[in-house]
């Protein structure tokens, strides 16, 4: 009886072995998804927004409002704004309905061809277009210029690490804590996180408390401002930078705030970055870097004046 029972289990094993293998070999691929219609997108028409082709002067700001809807099945995952076929804004989303106001500064090109694209998770997309012509009656605006701004890394006791673009004043940590509403730029030497070395960022750049710890740490500030930077050094010469005394060069290198980076990293003398802070476009040039986390960095800064 015991021998029979044992052979029964052997047979059961063999059957299971066969079935497992058979099922694996015959397992079906996932079905292809059924095709769904495309999402929809439109430019909203309102007094406060630009909704149709128009003419605007360089440096002038205008707002475009976009409304997109999903197809009833697949969520919207990507909104793209292209200017003359170059990506101006590229955002990740996960929504059924999407509303976006885009504040744009008119550049130097004669014609700006805008394309606004909405994509869903299945890759279906819809787009709409807008043309902005340049008003040839140009009058560029004045800029603030701050030369030889000396800032310290986090352990520097002689020079502060916190700059206000209101007047180019540099503050130490305690002073910045007490004046957080006007602090726009932070300098430090990254030898503790991603090892990005000399870095220019801002209070809202998620630096963490490690470089500036304690009672006056940024996480304890009342106001935390964010400045965003171009993704890489600009391809312009230091002579061109030095020769700019109105905002034409700044406008030419402006970018959508959300598409900018929170930090300009691994800085070296001669690097020129553009930045956007509070609706104003600016640029900085690295004059020199000295030392590491107790060292100093010297910058020239130019920024559109406050209106």
């Amino acid at each position: 009886m015991k021998q029979f029972t044992h052979r029964f289990f052997t047979n059961v094993f063999l059957l299971i072995f066969f079935l497992i293998t058979l099922l694996t070999f015959l397992s079906c691929d996932d079905e292809e998804g059924k095709s769904h219609p495309s999402p929809s997108i439109r430019v909203l028409d309102s007094q406060e927004f630009v909704s149709g082709d128009t003419t605007i002067a360089p440096g002038d700001k205008f707002t475009v409002a976009i409304q997109a809807e999903y197809n009833g099945y697949d969520r919207l995952t990507n909104f793209i704004a292209k200017l003359n076929d170059e990506r101006y804004l590229d955002l990740g989303i996960y929504v059924k309905s999407y509303y976006k106001e885009i504040e744009i500064t008119k550049g130097l090109e004669s014609v700006d061809n805008w394309e606004f694209i909405i994509r869903d998770i299945e890759g279906n997309y819809a787009n709409t277009f807008l043309t902005i012509n340049k008003d040839e009656n140009i009058e560029y605006s004045e800029i603030d210029e701050f030369a030889d701004i000396q800032m310290g890394a986090q352990n520097n006791t002689g020079y502060g690490s916190f700059l206000s673009l209101k007047d180019g004043t540099v503050y130490n940590l305690e002073e910045a804590y007490n004046n957080s509403a006007i602090i726009d730029i932070v300098s430090y030497y990254d030898d503790f996180d991603k090892l990005d070395k000399w870095t220019i960022a801002s209070p809202g750049a998620n630096i963490g408390d490690e470089p500036f710890p304690g009672e006056y740490a940024i996480s304890n500030w009342t106001t935390i401002n964010t400045t965003r930077y171009s993704p890489s050094p600009l391809d312009i010469s230091t002579d061109d930078f030095d020769a700019a005394h109105n905002d034409s060069l700044l406008i030419a290198h402006s970018f959508a705030f959300e598409s900018g980076k929170r930090k300009a990293k691994d800085l070296a003398p001669g690097d020129i970055y553009s930045f956007v802070r509070g609706g104003r476009t600016g640029m900085f040039k690295v004059i020199s870097t000295t030392g590491e986390n107790s060292g100093t960095i010297i910058l020239d800064i130019k920024i559109q004046k406050l209106n």
Binding site: N11, F17, F18, N78, L91, Y94, L195, D209, K261, K263
Partner: protein, 761 residues
């Protein structure tokens, strides 16, 4: 797919009625020959009937319904010499007393991996170790790689515990990029795509033993054996029918169950054995982000996994047998981030594994052939808010497929000379795609590697077996081909400037790996050895074909990469200084060349430094390891080991590139000091294991700026078998709740408790 075309062996069905004959009872007791104490859990097998049993708490056993006749009993128990005795069973009830002689656990063990033939570990030059299944059961183990931490100079990095998607195992001063060859019943698990192993595929309950060879072993095993070789050998059932059902639960809402069923019977007079195993585990996990860095998107790293496997074998006679195995593994592990989707970001593996093995003897040649196929589908789904505050969602799917054939033959020439030779053939394939839902990027890449190798080894014993010489040589040739990359509508997410549709040119590499070792027996209790060996690590497919963004910048593929190589010189002593004690020591010096590192090309991609992997560095490693074991009694053992490693980059040829010169820097994640100590106590009340593992400081980055702190963890295992069928175990890993931060600035889980209940039949 190829595995779909794999031919399944025919099923064996025999329906033979069993007839009742006159039956007798065979009973007895197994005792220690010195102390006369009963041995609990000793295994007794009636060879001719393929029936097995274990002794109870009084050391007693009883076979019922045995036909009268002459039988061979085989008795085994850890810590004792195996016993074999013939008995004549008449129609009377038979009672026998079996006395077993204690043995030194380590030195009597036999291993295959070191020479591809069966050899006593004490006869092998080198610091080789074996972990038997009884030792696996004694160890607090939640994953198969846990037990490797007890081995000197083996570093297991599994910083999130069971929630880690995998573990990296390194040896002797090498970092995770220069791996160890992992064999599973003699077939390689290292994937051509990235060299990594999915340790979760291997069930610790199925382990018969683990054989560890430390030091470069490419003379026999070729690629990936630069640090050493670990061979995991699974059980083959000796019992007619047995198994167990288990349930467990513990920290972080971990729950699971497993079963093992195995059997053994005669078919056409020959032995047929089989085994079926299943496993399921889930857990809610914990948050891996340190509290100071957490935001609303940080969630627990959950897990859900299952595994099934089946093995069967047929022994044509004492010398010829075949074995086949199939296993399936599937898991899903959260990555700790969740923004919009219910499951958040996760990593998922689905793996099919098939192997077939033949062991045989034809004339004077002992043969072994292994065929294998491993097909892994890796899916990594990411959703997160990046550092610039933008939402990103992407999906990576990667198919890695490796299949091959390994064959070797051994022949004895004269009385003391063995020649082993063989071939290894392997095909590796990778096909990967990255789809970005929150941008227009599409990135695809694929490639293949074929490798061929032949090896030869001669083993000679001289001067009355006092001197043992092993010389080996292996030639490897590998060809990379059909590599390609396709990029469509790229953005800053992938970092490409424009569409790409490119085929890589073919490339190839060769490696010649010699080895020479000498072991001399000074006195029977003291053996010394010298060895010189080489190992190499081929380029990973991912580095050959994948251009993409990584945390350090933008990685550019380099299809011209060549293997890394290491030459090791070693001296050691293995001794039995006094009764019941063992002491082993070794000192080694290694020189590595063509080690791969990322270097900057001088270009920037979307503000990120463009990097490429190049064979650029020479390294120097020196170190020492010490192992001590003392058996207070057969039930109480102390083990301890200590290792020291210094691994330095001695040359960094950065002349044609940009970036830091790393000459003089130390390798990353290689602790200078490591130590292990463990007490293993088997007793009638509750079996107890206490282990302590110390991992010293190491550098976290190539520039040697950031340090990973040292830490000490203490684990406890309490386990007991009740009434032969019920088993209960309590594991407390990291009892003092030491939380440490890993290289990626993530938290370890701290104390982990697991309670397991099993029914054995």
């Amino acid at each position: 797919m190829i595995y779909r075309k794999f031919i399944y062996t025919l099923l064996f069905y025999l329906i033979i009625p069993s007839f009742a004959f006159a039956q007798v009872v065979l009973q007895g007791v197994v005792t220690d020959s010195e102390t006369r104490q009963p041995l609990i859990g000793a295994n007794i097998v009636i060879k001719e009937l393929n029936r097995g049993i274990s002794t109870n708490n009084q050391g007693q056993f009883q076979f019922e319904n045995v036909r009268p006749g002459t039988y061979t009993l085989r008795v085994t128990f850890v810590g004792y010499h195996n016993e074999k005795l013939k008995i004549d069973l008449t129609e009377d009830q038979k009672h026998i007393v079996i006395q077993m002689n204690p043995s030194s656990i380590e030195m009597e063990k036999v291993m295959i991996t070191a020479t591809r033939t069966e050899r006593k570990i004490e006869d092998l030059a080198g610091q080789n170790e074996i972990i038997e299944k009884e030792e696996v059961e004694e160890f607090p183990t939640t994953n198969s790689d846990d037990i490797l931490q007890s081995i000197a100079n083996v570093n297991v990095n599994r910083s999130w515990g069971i929630f880690s998607k995998n573990a990296s195992v390194t040896m002797r001063g090498l970092d995770a990029a220069q791996g160890v060859l992992i064999l599973y019943n003699g077939v390689p698990l290292n994937k051509t795509a990235g060299g990594s192993i999915n340790w979760h595929m291997i069930s610790p309950d199925r382990i018969e033993r683990i054989e560890v060879i430390k030091g470069p072993s490419s003379a026999l095993y070729g690629n990936n054996a630069m640090g050493g070789v670990i061979n995991i050998i699974t059980k083959k059932s000796d019992n007619q029918f047995s198994g167990d059902l288990r349930a467990f639960g513990g920290s972080y809402s971990t729950l699971g169950s497993k079963f093992n069923v195995e059997g053994n019977e005669k078919i056409k007079g020959n032995n047929f054995y089989w085994g079926l195993t299943g496993f399921y585990r889930q857990g809610d996990g914990y948050i891996i982000e340190p509290k100071t860095n957490r935001d609303s998107t940080d969630v627990e790293v959950y897990l859900k996994e299952n595994r099934v496997g089946a093995t069967m074998g047929y022994e044509f006679n004492d010398q010829n047998k075949i074995e086949v195995e199939y296993s399936y593994y599937d898991d899903k592990r959260g990555d700790g981030k969740q923004v919009y989707l219910d499951d958040g970001g996760f990593v998922k593996y689905t793996t099919h594994f098939v192997r077939a093995k033949y062991d045989g003897q034809i004339g004077d040649y002992k043969l072994q052939a292994n065929g294998y196929l491993q097909n892994e589908h890796y899916n990594q789904f990411n959703e997160k808010i990046n550092r610039d505050g933008n939402y990103k969602m992407s999906d990576r799917n990667q198919i890695s497929r490796d299949y091959g054939l390994r064959m070797n033959a051994t022949r004895k020439y004269g009385k003391k000379n063995w020649l082993t030779f063989g071939i290894d053939l392997k095909q590796g394939y990778m096909d990967a795609s990255d789809i970005f839902y929150t941008s227009t990027d599409t990135l695809m890449r694929e490639g293949k590697v074929q490798s061929y190798a032949a090896f030869l080894q001669d083993e000679q014993r001289l001067f009355n077996d006092k001197l043992k010489i092993i010389a080996g040589l292996r030639f490897d040739y590998a060809r990379f081909y059909d590599g390609s990359i396709y990029v469509a509508e790229p953005t800053a997410n992938t970092g490409f400037d424009e569409n790409v549709d490119k085929d890589y040119g073919n490339s190839n590499w060769t490696a010649l790996s010699p080895k020479l070792s000498l072991q001399y027996e000074i006195i029977p209790e003291v053996k010394s050895y010298l060895s010189a060996s080489t190992g190499f690590m081929p380029p990973k497919m991912d580095d050959l074909i994948s251009s993409r963004k990584i945390s350090k910048g933008f990685k550019k593929a380099n299809p011209e990469l060549q293997p890394q190589s290491l030459t090791n010189y070693e001296i050691g002593f293995n001794t039995k200084p006094f009764n019941k004690a063992q002491f082993r020591s070794a000192a080694y010096y290694s020189l590595g060349k063509d080690f791969q590192y990322f270097v900057a090309t001088g270009n920037y991609v979307d503000g990120q430094t463009e990097l490429t992997r190049e064979n650029i560095a020479a390294i120097e490693i020196y170190g020492a390891e010490f192992f001590f074991q003392y058996d207070f009694t057969k039930d109480l053992t102390l083990k301890a080991n200590y290792t020291y490693n210094s691994s330095t980059i001695t040359d960094f040829d950065v002349e044609d590139y940009y970036g830091d010169d790393l000459t003089g820097k130390m390798l990353v994640e290689v602790p200078w000091h490591q130590a292990f100590a463990g007490i293993f106590w088997r007793n009638k009340i509750v079996n107890t294991t206490i282990t302590a593992n110390y991992i010293g400081e190491s550098y976290a980055d190539d520039q040697n700026i950031l340090m990973i702190d040292d830490y000490l963890t203490v684990d406890i295992r309490l386990y007991k078998t009740i009434k032969r069928n019920i088993f209960i175990a309590l594991d407390i890993q990291n009892i003092f709740d030491k939380v440490y931060i890993d290289k990626k600035q993530r938290l370890s889980p701290g104390r982990f408790i697991l309670l397991e209940l099993a029914y054995k039949f």
